[in-house]
Symmetry: C2
Subunit: 555 residues, 2 copies
C-alpha cells in the first residue's frame, strides 16, 4: 500500500510533457555536460593504473621518464640529427609542417606535443612532423623505419593512458593537417574522412545533413577520428549503435615500411578476404598510422528523453535493464548505473536538490532517442508504469525540459568530479559480466572497511561512503572509484592486485574503453592469456619488425 501510493506520486511527477522536450534543445545539454566534465577533470593516474584525485596536483608536470624510471630508452633507435631534419623539411615543404627543436630552439612550440592534456605524461621529443597527405605519411614512415627513428602517431592528444605522447625522443607524427572530409553519401550514410578530422567537426557536418556520427564522447571538440579508431573509442552511443568494429567500413593506413593499406571501402558488405582493417581498430598506432576512415553513420533522432529512477537492489537494476531493453528496445540509447554512495557524495559536494525524494541503494539514468517524440514518450511512460507497478523501480522522474535533462545527466556525469572533492580518487575503468558487475564494489567496500581504512575524520584515508560504483550499465562498463582524503599505500595494498585478480577470475577487462597505452601496458596479463599476448606480439612483429611504432607502450 505504501509502495502503491509512492508509485502514484512518482508517476504524477513523472508525467511526460512531450512539447517541452524539443529535439534540438534536449540533445544539447548532454553534450555541454560531457564537455564540461571533460574540461574539469583534473586527475592523474600513477604507474599502476590507479588514478589519484588531485587538488592542485597538476602543478608539477614530471617527465614520463622520471615517473617511470624503469623504462629505459632503447638504444637501437637513432637520435634525430640535423640531416634527418633537413630531409623532413625538404619532404614536407612548409615550415609549419615541421616543428624543429634540433637545429633551433623551439621548446615552446614543441611542448604541447610532448605532454598530454592531463599533464601526466611528458616526453622529450625535439621533432614534430605534420604530414599533409597519405603519401607524405608514407614517405615519413619509410624514412623513419629505414633510419631506425622511433615515432609516436598523434591525433587530438586526448587519450587517458599516455598513448599519444612520446616517452623519450620519439618523433611525433601529428595528423592535424589531414583534416578534410572526403565524401558523404546521404543515401547510404557513408562518410569518408581524413584521419585528422576532429570528431565534432564531422558530427556537425553530418548534423547539417540530418545524420550523426555513431560515436560520441566528451573530448569530441579536440579528438581526431583517426585517434578514435586507433583507440577503438567506446563513448556514449555504443549501446545504441555498436562498436567501431561494426561501423567502420574501411581504413586507409600506412605501415612502418611505407606500404599504404588501401582498404577504404565504402561498402557495408564485402566478403573478399581477411578483414585486415580490423587490426588497426584499437591498435593504438603500434602497427601503422591510420590516414583515412570510412564509416557508416545513422540518421539523427528527432526525439530524446531522459528518466531517472531509484531501485532497491542490484538485482532490480538488472531487471530494469532487461525490461528497458525489451520495452524501449529500439529507442534505448543509454542505461547508466549510479549507486547510492555516488549520489550521496554528489549531493554533499554540489548541494543540489536530489531528483528523487527518498534515498535508494541504486539509481539508473535512461535515455531514449527515436524518430517520433510521441511514440517515444508513450513507450517511456508505459515502461515507467510497468517497472513501478512491478516494484522493479521504487521511484522515478522524467525530464520535462532541456534544463531537467541537463540536471538529470548531471547526477551521472558529475560523479567523477565530485569524488575528487576530498583529495585523491582511485579509479578503475572495467568491463565485467553484467550479472557480477556490482559485486566488485561490494567486495572492495568490505575489504576497505575490514582494514579500518574508511570513516569520518582525518584519521581515515577513505571518505565515509567513498567506495562507489557507477558506469555504462548498458555496456557492462563499471567505474569503480574510491574517494580518499589522501594517497595512502595501505589503501592501494587493499585494492591491488585484488581488483585485477578479481577481474581476471571473471574474464573481465582491465580496460573497457580507454585502451592500454603506457598506463595499462603491464596489466594486460590480467585480461588476456599468455597465448593471446604471444599472438598479439606476433602481429606487432609482423607489421613493425623494427619496433619503431609507438614504442614502450601497448603490449
Amino acid at each position: 500500500m505504501a509502495n502503491r501510493s509512492r508509485v502514484s506520486l512518482a508517476l504524477r511527477r513523472a508525467r511526460i510533457s512531450p512539447a517541452s522536450i524539443s529535439p534540438a534543445s534536449s540533445s544539447r545539454p548532454i553534450r555541454q555536460l560531457a564537455q564540461a566534465r571533460w574540461q574539469s577533470t583534473a586527475s592523474t593516474e600513477d604507474s599502476e593504473g590507479v588514478t589519484k584525485g588531485t587538488t592542485g596536483s597538476t602543478k608539477s608536470f614530471k617527465f614520463t621518464s622520471e615517473t617511470y624510471p624503469n623504462i629505459k630508452r632503447e638504444s637501437k633507435f637513432s637520435e634525430v640529427t640535423e640531416d634527418h631534419v633537413s630531409y623532413f623539411k625538404e619532404l614536407l615543404g612548409k615550415e609549419s609542417a615541421v616543428i624543429d627543436g634540433v637545429t633551433r630552439d623551439a621548446t615552446d612550440d614543441i611542448e604541447p606535443f610532448n605532454g598530454d592534456w592531463m599533464r601526466k605524461y611528458r616526453g622529450h621529443t625535439k621533432l614534430v612532423l605534420k604530414p599533409g597527405s597519405t603519401a607524405e605519411v608514407s614517405e615519413v614512415l619509410k624514412y623513419c623505419n629505414d633510419n631506425m627513428l622511433a615515432v609516436v602517431p598523434q591525433g587530438g592528444n586526448s587519450g587517458l593512458v599516455g598513448g599519444s605522447v612520446p616517452v623519450f625522443d620519439e618523433i611525433v607524427i601529428n595528423m592535424s593537417r589531414m583534416n578534410q572530409i572526403r565524401s558523404f553519401d546521404s543515401v547510404s550514410g557513408t562518410l569518408v574522412v581524413d584521419a585528422g578530422v576532429v570528431l565534432e567537426v564531422a558530427d556537425n557536418y553530418l548534423g547539417e545533413r540530418n545524420h550523426i556520427f555513431p560515436l560520441d564522447l566528451g573530448a569530441k571538440g579536440s579528438c581526431h577520428i583517426g585517434g578514435n579508431v586507433a583507440t577503438n573509442a567506446g563513448g556514449l552511443r555504443l549501446l545504441r549503435y555498436g562498436s567501431l568494429h561494426g561501423n567502420v567500413l574501411g581504413i586507409e593506413a600506412v605501415l612502418p615500411d611505407g606500404t599504404i593499406v588501401d582498404d577504404l571501402s565504402k561498402l557495408r558488405k564485402n566478403n573478399t578476404g581477411y578483414d585486415l582493417k580490423q587490426l588497426f581498430i584499437g591498435a593504438e598506432g603500434t602497427i601503422g598510422i591510420i590516414t583515412g576512415v570510412s564509416i557508416i553513420c545513422p540518421q539523427r533522432s528527432n526525439a530524446i528523453n531522459v528518466a531517472f529512477f531509484g531501485l532497491e537492489s542490484y538485482e532490480k537494476v538488472q531487471e530494469a535493464f532487461r525490461e528497458a531493453k525489451g520495452q524501449l528496445s529500439e529507442i534505448l540509447s543509454a542505461f547508466e548505473l549510479m549507486d547510492s554512495h555516488s549520489q550521496s557524495l554528489v549531493a554533499t559536494v554540489t548541494k543540489n536538490k536530489r531528483p528523487l525524494e527518498g534515498d535508494y541503494p541504486f539509481y539508473c539514468l535512461i535515455e531514449t532517442s527515436g524518430s517520433n517524440t510521441e511514440h517515444d514518450n508513450e513507450k517511456l511512460e508505459k515502461f515507467l508504469e510497468f517497472v513501478m507497478e512491478k516494484e522493479i523501480v521504487l521511484d522515478g522522474v522524467v525530464a520535462q525540459d532541456a534544463t531537467q535533462v541537463k540536471a538529470l545527466w548531471g547526477w551521472r556525469e558529475g560523479v567523477p568530479e565530485c569524488l575528487g572533492h576530498w583529495g585523491g580518487v582511485y579509479k578503475y575503468d572495467l568491463s565485467i559480466p553484467i550479472s557480477e558487475l556490482y559485486s566488485l564494489v561490494e567486495d572492495i567496500r568490505g575489504k576497505i572497511s575490514d582494514a579500518g581504512l574508511i570513516g569520518n575524520g582525518e584519521g581515515y584515508p577513505v571518505v565515509e561512503g567513498g567506495v562507489v560504483g557507477y558506469g555504462h550499465m548498458g555496456d557492462s562498463n563499471l567505474h569503480l572509484n574510491v574517494a580518499t582524503r589522501r594517497y595512502d599505500k595501505k589503501v592501494e595494498q587493499v585494492l591491488e592486485p585484488f581488483v585485477y585478480e578479481w577481474i581476471s577470475k571473471r574474464n573481465g577487462s582491465i580496460s573497457a574503453e580507454h585502451g592500454l597505452g603506457l598506463a595499462k601496458k603491464n596489466y594486460i596479463g590480467y585480461s588476456r592469456s599468455v597465448t593471446m599476448i604471444a599472438l598479439m606480439k606476433q602481429i606487432k612483429n609482423l607489421y613493425d619488425p623494427n619496433g619503431i611504432m609507438n614504442p614502450y607502450k601497448y603490449i
Copy 2:
C-alpha cells in the same frame, strides 16, 4: 490530379489493420519462405562465378577436379594412410567420430561430406573426422600440420562458393559434434555456443528467452554458427543489427599448429590489445578452425509489418530509402529492391495476382520490426502517406495478415527461382555504392540488347526482359541476374570481364556476402588491390605456413 486520386486509392488499400498482424504469426511466414527458397534453389555456378540455371542439370555431379582441371593437387601434402587413420581413431575414440574410407569401404557414408548441397563441388576425401571438443580439434590439427595432411573445416556445408568441401583428398573436419549451447545471459543478451550449433537451434533457444540471433538466412536449418562466422554471413538482419564484426564478442579457435586462440570474451567493451578474433570472421577456415563463438543477441521484436511499393525511377527508390531510414529509422529491418523486369517474370511464371494494379519501373519491399505494434503501424502509415503525397512512391500496399506478409515477401524471395524457369541464369552477388547500384543493370541490358542477344523466341539466348536487378538495397547488395534459354558463350562474353571491371572501377565488391571459396578465388583482384592481396597472403602464411588449411581456395 490523376496522381492524387491514385494515392488515395492506394492508401485506402494500404490501410493498416493492427490487430491482424500478430507478432507470432507474422514473423513465421518469412522464415518459411526463406527456407522454401533455399530448398528449391537448384542452380549451379560455373568456374567463372556465373550461375547457370538448371532444369535437370543437377543430375550430373562432376568432381571439382574435373570441373577445374587447371587446379592440381599439391604434392607437398601427404596422402592419408592406415597409420593416420589409426591415430585418429585412437584420439577421437568413438567409431562415429571417424568415417574411414581408407581402411574400409565407406564411400556411401563419406559422399555427403564430399559434395555441396548444390551438387556442384565434389571432392575425393576418404576421411571425415568429427572432433567433439576444442582439445580434440587442437590434437587433430596439430597432427595434420605435423604430417602435412591438408584439411577442410566443415560446418553445415551450406555455402555457395565451394568453400566447405574438399577439392582432392583433404581430410574433412566436420564440426557437427560440437553442438552445445554453452551459456546465455539474459540481461546482457550474450550467447556462447560451440561452433557446430545449428543457427536455427540457437535462434529457437533464444526465442524461448525472448531474444533473437542477430543473423538470419535461408539455410538456418542446417548452417552452423561457426560456419556463419567463418564466412561472415550477411543475411536478412544486417540492415538492422549490423555485421558479425560488430556482434561477435569473442571467438575460440584452433590454429594449424594446435594453438588454441582463447578469445571467447563475453564483454561488449575490451580494449586490451589487437582484436585478433576479427581475422577469423570471414577467413573461411583458411587460418584456423573456429570452435566457439560468443555473440550479443538483441531482444525479439513484438511487431512486424511489411509494405510493398511501386516507384517510377531509381532516383525515387533512393529517396524512398532515405525517407525510410529517417522516418522508420529504428524500426526499419529490411529495404529490398526489385525492378520491373524481375516482377514481370515472377508474374509470368507464378501467374499470381500482382500486389499493385499498375506496372512500375521499380518496386520496394519494406519490413519494420519494433517493440510496439501500434507505434510501428502509425509510423509506417505516416511514412506511406508522406512518400505518396510527395510522389516518391506511386502506389503501395501493406500486408494486413500473415498470408499477405508471406505473399509480399514472395514477390522478392521468389525472384531467383522464377528466373530459372526458361533455362540458365547468370548470377552475380555484388556490393556497389548505392547511388550507382542500379546503373550496372542498365549498362548490361544495353550491351546485351546491342549485341542482339535478347528477345522473344528460341533464336535469342536471353529471355525478353530477362536482365534483372534486385537485392538488399539497405546493404547496397545487388543481385544482377540474366535469365536465358540456354548457356551461351556470346552472352558470357558480353558479361565478363565487363561486370567485374565495372565493379572494380566503382570500388565495389565481387562478393558481397557469399565469400570467395573456390568460385571467386581468381577474381579477388577486381575488389582488392595488389597490396591488399599481398597483405592477406602474409596473414595466411603467418598462421598457416604449411598451407594445410582449406587449400586451393580463398586468396
